[in-house]
Symmetry: C2
Subunit: 325 residues, 2 copies
């Protein structure tokens, strides 16, 4: 039997993306002070990294138009990496000015998805991100590159693994500290995850790989486990399961932070996260965003959160025992 089911204290680093990937999809604007309080709560819950915000154009993503204030005013808890999405040079300058610990750049390994989402060819994106990486290096700020559609493109279907690895190679050559392999629309499945992850870790040992899964087809947690089995130790997840899938209305988006932490802790992995504090933060989300969150742990509690017996339990038992005599 596989040893994957027993973590034996293996450390898994959890990266929270709900504050960026989740909130940017919300139609309402979460007040700046609430965003700051949320990031502070997540910092104290023990997450390894928090994607705080996105330094995109305020007109493109008004929900995150307060990026500078949030990044400047959050508490900086030692050991936590405060990252932010940066689409271009202007965003990088803003993020560096706001003392962002790490710049998270994004492009897609699918040509169709890159053109549809970023309005550039992949080569144009690569050239633009190369400039951002050079700027970050000058400023001494680490860079992570999130590669979208690594496990499939919602328009093209499967993306050749050679294409994925070619971009990983090119970014590794540019000296990025981390690469996130993103399952953008929930197309990843365990043997594919195990194969791609183990190859990436073997080929670029100096790069910190993060795996980013969506639970769109119910395989999120199993993909996390397959990636751990292949050597991955760092995962993106979203508080409350915030962030849907634009291609499948009503379907799940990002894997849910408290579901992944709950499951990994049940299995004996050490996420370093205080699950109670994380669940408390997730339970405050509906007030912030005005609707329920997908999180199953918010709905059902932890596995040993027991329920009271029915009010008439003693009477039921008495009647049962009376029949026995």
């Amino acid at each position: 039997m596989s040893s994957i089911w027993n973590g034996h204290g293996t450390r898994i680093r959890m990266c929270e993306v709900g504050t960026r990937d989740g909130l940017q999809m919300e139609p309402c604007f979460v007040p700046t002070e609430d965003k700051i309080a949320l990031v502070n709560a997540l910092s104290h819950a023990g997450l390894a990294k928090i994607e705080v915000t996105s330094f995109t154009s305020p007109t493109a993503i008004p929900a995150l138009r307060d990026a500078e204030i949030v990044m400047r005013e959050i508490e900086r808890v030692p050991g936590v990496v405060y990252t932010a999405l940066v689409p271009n040079m202007r965003g990088a300058e803003r993020a560096i000015d706001a003392r962002t610990d790490e710049l998270n750049l994004v492009m897609s390994v699918s040509e169709t998805h890159n053109i549809a989402n970023l309005r550039m060819t992949r080569e144009q994106s690569f050239a633009s991100l190369s400039q951002v990486i050079a700027l970050a290096h000058q400023a001494g700020v680490p860079v992570n590159v999130s590669l979208s559609c690594v496990f499939g493109c919602p328009m093209e279907g499967d993306v050749a693994e050679s294409e994925v690895f070619a971009f990983a190679q090119r970014f590794a050559e540019l000296g990025v500290q981390g690469i996130t392999l993103c399952d953008t629309t929930g197309m990843a499945f365990p043997p594919q995850v195990a194969r791609i992850t183990s190859h990436a870790i073997k080929c670029w040992p100096a790069v910190q790989f993060t795996l980013h899964f969506h639970n769109t087809r119910g395989m999120g947690l199993s993909n996390v486990l397959a990636a751990i089995d292949a050597g991955a130790r760092q995962f993106d997840a979203s508080l409350g399961g915030l962030g849907g899938c634009p291609y499948a209305p009503g379907a799940s988006g990002n894997v849910c932070s408290e579901e992944v932490v709950h499951a990994l802790e049940c299995m004996g992995y050490d996420t370093g996260v205080d699950l109670n504090a994380l669940v408390d933060a997730a339970r405050r989300l509906p007030d912030l965003i005005g609707h329920e969150v997908p999180s199953q742990i918010v709905k059902a509690g932890r596995r040993l959160d027991t329920h009271p017996v029915p009010a008439d339990f003693d009477a039921i038992r008495e009647r049962a025992l009376a029949r026995a005599t």
Copy 2:
């Protein structure tokens, strides 16, 4: 790396419980002819076993008050086992009269849960089921016993594994053909599943074990994989993910048949199920029950069900390419 991620054609038998476990929780009465058509569609989709209905009191579960007619009038596809829930002697007589292939009996390994749900002590349930088993043996009808709360009780918390195995032993001694280990409220987690499943299969090799998981806390598919790793080859699942959890309103209930089949087929397991036919059947459920179903596959489709490019894609690409020159 574990071999669990690659099925290599290993045969997994899928047992559909939506027609009983799912429909019995629906407030509406699904017309008898629609139930029959649904079971027939599931038969032709290649499921190994279908829990067609429940021979309970029509006043207790009016949604299944047409148990006899449904069981008598469904098409009997060779190779498919048509089972039904039977709570007592009266139910067993009705089920046998209606030519049910297998009687599925239920009791809980948690004393509190058994009293609260079945209004009997576990010993009273065991004595009653022993009589049913004797009747079934006389009639030459196989028996499966579903043990509730094997992986935890929503009121007691963890149930001692020695209690689980003591009941397995007693039913094995009574000569039952199968035992289903049920995670009644989604408390199971992979290392526990692997441990209990491997012990059960080793101790009672003549008993066909089925694993029954709920996805209440998002661990359903991972528990299926842990059980397969421990030697299990037969699983309950519910079409559309029908059947909620009375202890967690809004949370998932049974693992969803088409999600499990989709995932297992992606991983190279052979479920014998025609996924397209299964998804077609699931997509007809909302019309039958009057509300959407939890199934992520119904919402998002299979992983390679691609989407069209945006309507303005060609213009976006032209503009991008024009910038390049």
